[in-house]
Symmetry: C2
Subunit: 316 residues, 2 copies
């Protein structure tokens, strides 16, 4: 049996009782470590499970799936994934390969940022498609996320923005020389995310009287600048979500311009994600998330909520 | 401390290790039992926790939150929720009340149908807003879900349809007499869900040459019938999801008309939900879910996938 087991959001104790029992039964235990990362050392997992944990990198999973699946029709093998194993990124391919080899699979689900974002008070129901924001470089500012965000905003939906994580990145030199030496992992902060979002907003909707910056390269179908602004920085509500589901969880609410102006340190260590608030905002959502807004009771959060979103805190 | 703890999808062992440790520390343990239902008896939970479990009904949570929160600033109290505690339905109000009373809260997340639906092979990323389908009656066929589904389909997104659950329903007579006697719980089957979806599709887009049925009552803003069909029954792909995350999990894929034609027994016991497939379908999604399609390798699934969705199974 191949067990595909979610580890949840934070530490070794976020595994389910059922998942832990399965891991302890398994002959080999792999930890998928390229789509997300657990914020505790692998040794802590090994001590908790009483099992050696083998790190599965992208190369292992894609090229060496035969190793992972070896004898899994006879012995139990565990493949551990941070979050829900089929949540943010499916491991469909591994399951299909197992299926081709007549190896039975069992998925043991767990929490994922996609539902844990309910911690903000925003209703999961009201979220549209999830988008991913890659690290921009001087020459590469991919903007396809913007079109998807627009689709959500046009129907009033909230949007979860998953921010980039770079693990096992090679420097150009190491790659050229074929050296499997990797750079330290990089995690996009909400600070960078909000800056990038506003950069693209300006590039798509340049202020009147200017023309679209020719420095901004788009790698995808270019969209002509619009006359209306999608994300007016002072009139768009957003949230940063840091270390959700951990004891140091931190949520900050505010306008896009307020959040982009906060220093990077304000958000603390990874992992982070970001939410753009849609117009179908409910008073209870405004109130719940407003407890963490920049400026507190006098924050722009409440004024923009009322004037732009048409929502006010209700008396209870 | 008020602990709000997700129980996951299936049985007593789907709680996380962290959640279980918290429950065992708590002086009082409440089980929320009106937004979802665990498919095991409460006594099994009590035996596993070594704690009495108090059923919290809607009345308890809304009207007697003071009872739940009593002394929670001094002792530990657990509020258990099936799925992720803040996933499908937030318990924001209880948290806000605790916050007003300066009672600290800790949320322990868990799996939810909103991420576990990855078991279908469809990418969570490609889902739009979630919709809820209520039980229709002879005089009440609320259709607001249809407009939200349309918003998703227009941008190619998949849609999770949460189907109705009726717990603690009172008969009209018992309600009139003020007797707190409740009907047995009712769970909508995919059979009923697909029938209702097609009923509304016909009412919104009557076949050419007929007029909109006047028997169908709408309780919300009526939309004029369109000339194009949103959900052509033979050209729309869909899935039924039954008992996801349990050992008897069953997924069936097919066209809307194929799925609506299946007998109710085919889907087995609750809990169920339904997915309508959007046009932004990926070949791997088609292949993964196609393993459970009506008609197998010769099923309409593959032909509609190719002709209508423009997607074919890739060779691996």
């Amino acid at each position: 049996m191949l067990y595909i087991i979610g580890l949840g959001l934070s530490d070794e104790k976020d595994i389910t009782v059922k998942g832990l029992e399965a891991v302890k039964r398994c002959e080999r235990v792999y930890l998928e470590s390229y789509t997300s990362i657990l914020m505790i050392p692998k040794e802590k997992l090994e001590a908790f499970y009483g099992r050696e944990v083998i790190t599965a990198t992208r190369e292992t999973v894609e090229l060496e799936s035969d190793d992972i699946l070896r004898d899994a029709d006879k012995v139990d093998v565990a493949f551990l994934v941070v979050g829900d194993p089929l949540g943010a990124t499916t491991h469909s391919d591994l399951i299909l390969r197992a299926s081709d080899l007549n190896i039975p699979t069992t998925v043991i689900h767990n929490a994922s940022i996609l539902t844990a974002l309910g911690a903000t008070g925003l209703q999961m129901y009201n979220f549209g498609q999830t988008i991913s924001l890659p690290f921009y470089t001087e020459t590469w500012t991919p903007e396809s996320w913007y079109d998807r965000l627009e689709e959500n905003l046009q129907v009033g939906m909230h949007t979860l923005v998953l921010v980039d994580i770079k693990v096992r990145e090679q420097s150009e030199e190491n790659m050229a020389r074929g050296r499997l030496i990797y750079e330290p992992p990089r995690f996009m902060s909400p600070h960078t995310a909000f800056k990038q979002i506003l950069l693209t907003e300006t590039s798509r909707n340049p202020p009147t009287g200017t023309t679209s910056s020719s420095e901004v390269t788009e790698d995808e179908t270019s969209t002509a600048p619009r006359s209306t602004t999608l994300l007016p920085p002072d009139q768009t509500l957003a949230l940063s979500l840091s270390r959700i589901g951990t004891s140091t969880q931190r949520i900050i609410a505010g306008t896009l311009s307020e959040l982009a102006a906060l220093p990077e340190e304000e958000f603390g260590p990874p992992l982070h994600s970001v939410v753009i608030v849609g117009k179908r905002l409910h008073p209870l959502e405004l109130e719940f998330a407003g407890r963490w807004c920049v400026g507190g009771e006098n924050g722009a959060w409440w004024k923009v909520g009322k004037d732009v979103y048409g929502v006010e805190k209700e008396s209870r």
